[in-house]
């Protein structure tokens, strides 16, 4: 879990360790919120969180409910 001022992204552990899924998350995000560590696991790029455009592509890329984008202003 990691949060910005306005947007928080939560990724379940199982997803964060799944190399293929992480690769997919990196690909779909237009504002580079996701990165892949050397061991293939997920790294959330904190400075980019607030750039999230709420496109939901990351949410759709993972099994239902495993990636959650939370608006911290609601």
């Amino acid at each position: 879990m990691a949060d910005g001022m306005f947007i928080q992204v939560e990724v379940d552990d199982a997803v964060a360790k799944d190399k293929e899924l992480v690769k997919k998350l990196v690909e779909v995000c237009a504002v580079d919120i996701f990165a892949q560590k050397d061991d293939g696991s997920l790294e959330i790029v904190r400075p980019n969180l607030d750039e999230c455009v709420l496109c939901d592509l990351c949410v759709q890329a993972a099994p239902t409910g495993k990636v959650r984008v939370v608006k911290l202003y609601e």
């Binding site: 306005f6 607030d50 750039e51 608006k71 202003y73 609601e74």
Partner: protein
């Protein structure tokens, strides 16, 4: 993007136009050396991007190298309309029999380039056109049919010039028109174009403007002329604040937060887009507000860019509050701008609710934007409040 006279003349020299002997000097000693090479009466001209050089004392007429050195010292130290001279142009001086005017520019109404020629050079062409229209020739030419010199001939002939004068002037004016097209110029002017008493035709002074949008297409020419990539060449040199504004806009390629211009007021403006900024700047001034800056945001800038712009404006001494306003937006997102300006306030150590006098950006993603603004206690309004009224609310808060 305006050229200095010596750069314009360098371009004219490449085009094989007849020029006076001489070149630019950066120091009085250099001016003396050039004067010795020329060996005769001289003209020294301040190299500034401003009109009114003669009136300001930026043009001198020494007779010898010693005089040239002294005159160069004075000219180089003289600031003209806020511009420091880049150098001093040292040229030979010869007796002039007649002065002509030749220019090529765009006619936005005809959507074509136009050659303007007059046999009454040296004075304001607008004035000549008004008082002596028969002495001004205007000829439009095609941008897709190759240029031919007869167009220049027609413009010159229209003023009644004939004989050998016509035949000697035509190639000079034709070269000007060809250069105008080849180098994406917006103005190529020779004034005066002189006939000396010895019969020679010479370019005495020139004014060249290149389209800013075409700069990178003519990198070689600009490099040859020694024009730096970061020289803006606007009516006044950019301030440090404006240079920082350009740096904010360059942080990423998403959207625009640019054209930052500095003013001396206390109300910072985060406004957009092109037309909206003009409308809002007028509105703030109409309400008696004092803008600290002008800017244009648009094209859906990143949170980072809106944040950077906000921080820059808040860093300016004397800025009490900022107003964040745009016309109804289509592709710029309300929520993204809201995030950016709030973040900018917080990172500047300011309370967004206190610092943002008003937020008036209706349109795309406004529901999310308004929720963000509510959370941080920022006063906002939707499209039912006009741009003018929003500006009024911001100004009213400044006097509290």
């Amino acid at each position: 993007m305006r050229f200095y006279e010596y750069e314009a003349k360098q371009l004219f020299r490449q085009l094989r136009m007849p020029l006076l002997k001489g070149r630019v000097a950066k120091t009085p000693a250099e001016a003396k050396t050039i004067a010795e090479e020329i060996g005769g009466p001289l003209v020294l001209k301040s190299q500034v991007l401003s009109g009114g050089r003669m009136k300001a004392g930026g043009v001198k007429f020494p007779d010898d190298p010693a005089g040239a050195e002294q005159a160069a010292k004075e000219v180089l130290a003289l600031e003209i309309n806020g511009h420091t001279p880049r150098g001093v142009l040292v040229e030979e001086r010869g007796p002039v029999a007649q002065e002509y005017f030749a220019a090529v520019t765009w006619d936005g109404r005809a959507k074509a380039p136009v050659i303007i020629f007059s046999d009454m050079g040296g004075i304001d062409i607008e004035e000549v056109a008004e008082k002596h229209p028969e002495h001004v020739g205007r000829v439009h030419f095609s941008t897709i049919v190759p240029f031919n010199p007869f167009r220049a001939k027609e413009a010159i002939s229209a003023t009644g010039v004939s004989g050998s004068e016509l035949n000697r002037l035509t190639p000079i004016v034709a070269a000007l028109a060809e250069a105008f097209l080849r180098y994406d110029l917006t103005l190529a002017e020779i004034n005066p174009l002189a006939r000396l008493e010895d019969g020679r035709f010479l370019v005495l002074d020139g004014h060249v403007d290149m389209e800013a949008e075409a700069r990178d297409r003519h990198a070689k020419l600009l490099d040859d002329l020694g024009i730096g990539k970061d020289e803006t060449r606007e009516a006044r040199p950019p301030t440090e604040f404006e240079i920082k504004g350009a740096a904010v806009d360059a942080t990423d390629h998403r959207g625009v937060a640019g054209n930052v211009k500095e003013f001396d007021g206390d109300l910072g403006l985060v406004i957009g887009a092109g037309g909206g900024s003009l409308t809002l700047f007028d509105a703030v001034r109409n309400h008696g507000g004092k803008p600290a800056n002008y800017c244009e945001i648009g094209g859906n800038p990143s949170v980072q860019k809106a944040c950077g712009l906000t921080k820059l404006i808040l860093s300016k001494p004397g800025v009490k509050k900022i107003a964040v306003m745009m016309n109804v937006v289509s592709n710029t997102r309300v929520d993204i701008v809201a995030r950016g300006v709030i973040k900018g306030c917080v990172e500047s150590g300011r309370d967004p609710g206190e610092t943002i006098a008003i937020f008036r950006i209706p349109g795309a993603w406004e529901d999310d934007g308004f929720k963000i603004l509510e959370k941080y206690g920022v006063e906002y309004c939707d499209r039912s409040v006009s741009m003018y009224e929003a500006a009024g609310r911001a100004v009213a808060k400044m006097s509290k």
